[in-house]
Structure formats: structure tokens, C-alpha cells
Symmetry: C2
């Protein structure tokens, strides 16, 4: 366990991108790829690619490069794509529904098991086969079913509260779309998707370019 304990966040964040490019290569029927070729494709350095991959073991072969299919499979394994992941979505609004309807997740083992909402009029309905339940069923549902990840698509204050409840019920992985930081103990792992923040970064770039044009 200790070996792969200290892999930096930067490396982990790059893995899905490798995975993506390798898939494209497979679809193109490419059998092998060198770090040099991959680096040109991905606009990274070959050094970085070799360094990154070697965090997990030597997947390549000197004089040959990397076998595309097996590297793809290895990275998939590292990312946990082979396992089934059970998700619930808190908040059955537009964003929550968009997540449940999106086709791209299930092919990587992500399965939405239920949605929860405060709005009674939504309860009982199904989105893409996923039933909307009232938030007061949350506790009983989570204690009976396996839930790996909770996606939060509710307003900030609610997200902070509900995430605490979910933590209390044993959930440790959170996909947070609320525009706030959650307030959870250290061992909770939160992946934030702050849409306004990313839009503001774009806005910064827009404004700056206007400055420069003056």
C-alpha cells in the first residue's frame, strides 16, 4: 500500500487524459506508441509522460515503447474503471437530471442508483430509469444500499448540511456541484465542479484581452 500512497494530485489529474488519448489510438488501430509520439499528440513532454507512468510501474519496453491496448487497460485499472461505482444524486434539478441522463458515465462503471429532492411533486418520477425519492428517505436508502459517491446538485447551504449527514452515514466520496466548499473531516474526498468559477476564469481572460487592446 505504501508504494502508491504518495502519488501527486497533478499526476492523478492527468491520468484520465492519457486514458482518453489512448482510447483514440485504439480506435485508430494503433498498436504501439512511444512517449515521444504521445507527447506530440498530447502537447506534453515525453519526459513527463514517462515520469508519470512510472509512478505505477514500468508499462513500457525499451526500444519499443508502450503497447497501446495494454497501457489503456493498465490505466483503466488504476482509475478503477473495472469496478462498479454506485452513485446517488442529491438534487433533481436541471443539472442533476443532466448528469443522470448523460450516457457517457455508465460505460465506465458509474451507475446512478437514486436521486433525492425536497420537492414532493418530483418524487416518484423517474429520470432515465433512476427514481426520484424524497430527501427524508435518504438515511434509510443509504443504510440499506451500497453507495460509493454522492453527487451534490443543490444550493450551497443545503450541500454543506446534506454532505455532513451523508458523511455521518459513512459516505466519503463527494462530487460537489454546489458553489461552496464543503465542511467535512479530512478523510472525505471531494471533487468540486464549480461552474461559475471556471466561467470567471474565462471572464478574466476576456477582460484582460480587452485591456490590452486599448
Amino acid at each position: 500500500m505504501a508504494q502508491q500512497n504518495q502519488i501527486s494530485k497533478a499526476v492523478i489529474a492527468r491520468l484520465p487524459r492519457y486514458y482518453r488519448y489512448l482510447r483514440v489510438l485504439i480506435e485508430q488501430g494503433v498498436e504501439r506508441v512511444s512517449s515521444e509520439e504521445l507527447s506530440r499528440l498530447m502537447k506534453a513532454t515525453a519526459s513527463q509522460i514517462r515520469q508519470d507512468l512510472n509512478n505505477f510501474g514500468g508499462f513500457g519496453q525499451q526500444g519499443y515503447g508502450y503497447n497501446v491496448k495494454s497501457l489503456y487497460a493498465e490505466i483503466g485499472k488504476i482509475l478503477g474503471v473495472e469496478q462498479v461505482h454506485d452513485l446517488i444524486v442529491i438534487g433533481a434539478g436541471n443539472l442533476g437530471r443532466a448528469l443522470v441522463r448523460y450516457k457517457g458515465f455508465s460505460s465506465h462503471g458509474f451507475n446512478f442508483r437514486a436521486m433525492f429532492d425536497l420537492d414532493e411533486s418530483l418524487c416518484g418520477k423517474s429520470i432515465n430509469g433512476v427514481k426520484i425519492r424524497h430527501i427524508n428517505e435518504l438515511e434509510s436508502f443509504v443504510s440499506k444500499q451500497k453507495v460509493d459517491i454522492a453527487a451534490l446538485t443543490i444550493p450551497s447551504e443545503d450541500a454543506i448540511q446534506v454532505s455532513k449527514t451523508l458523511y455521518g452515514l459513512g459516505i466519503r466520496y463527494f462530487w460537489n456541484f454546489a458553489h461552496t466548499d464543503l465542511e467535512l473531516p479530512e478523510d472525505a474526498i471531494v471533487k468540486d465542479v464549480h461552474l461559475l468559477d471556471s466561467l470567471l476564469e474565462l471572464s478574466f481572460a476576456v477582460s484582460r484581452s480587452k485591456e490590452n487592446k486599448r
Copy 2:
């Protein structure tokens, strides 16, 4: 212009978060804050906060700290929140509709001007007051209207193609939700929101914790 030309991406990515915390302080009626207090709140170092803010000029005062309201306003100005940003959304699917319906953007000057889709049966409809047009109206629309940012909520291959078209029409800022990297010249600024990638990072953490439990 040269002064503020070389601010690192890491700093820019942190600005929206400062902005968010300062807003909360304003709402709590807090008048002034020291880098030390803010650092405790945000779980950052006071050093980093002072360093970050000083990229844009001395907003603080020795022995006093920072005035919350004016710092908030300054960061807002830097992020370009004071300006109006005109957006179009390519793809009127679930995600595109969720973006247009979300209330949080307009209060920061982001206005959706139109949505575009291939599906004729959607065209003419409006989502939250934003009209869906056929994709073949894109060129004429963009040449007549001011468009700052294009949000792409369409499949990967389409996103690559359409973004090239949009670039040709003069658009330089892209909010990309497609699960691919765009292929645009250097001066295009792309902010990616790769939902599957972020979910895979969570999945990695889930798998690794299971490893450790064995």
C-alpha cells in the same frame, strides 16, 4: 499591459475562490479581514494570500488588513464581473439546458444569447427565454451579434468541428464540456469542464482506498 501579463494560472484559478469567501464575509457584515484570518477560513497560508493579491496591487493596509468590501470589488473588477458577457450555447441537450436555466450566472454578467442545435424539432423553442436556433443559423448569428464566449455541450467530434468554425468567425473563448481537447490555434482560450475526468479522479480515490483495506 505588460505588468499584469504574466500572472500564473494557479493564481487566476484561486481568484474566484477568494471572491466567494469575501462575499460570505460581506453577508456576515464583516468589515475587515487580515490575511491571517482569511487563511484560517480558506485553509490556505497567509503568505499565499498576500502574495496572490499583490500580483494585482496593494489592496491592504499595514496594521489593518484588507477592507472586505473594497477587496471584493477589486477582485470582481479583475475577474471582469462588472462587464456584460455574451454567451451562446452549442447543443440544446440536457447539459446545455441546465446551463441556460441556472440562475447563478446572470448575476455576474453572463448572459445567454442563443442556443444552437442540429435537431430541427427543438428549433424555435425557448429555454428560460433563450431561443434555440438551428446550427446552420450559427454563422449569420455570430457575425451580427456580439458573442464573447461559446459553451460547447455537444459530442466530441462535433465540438472539434464547430469550435473551428467559431474560431473562424472570430470567437476566441470557449467553455468546453465535450469530452475531448479542442484543436484550435494558440490564441484561443479554452476552459475545459471534463465531467468524466473529474469522476474518474474520484473513482481512483475510491479504488485506492479499497486496496488499502485489504
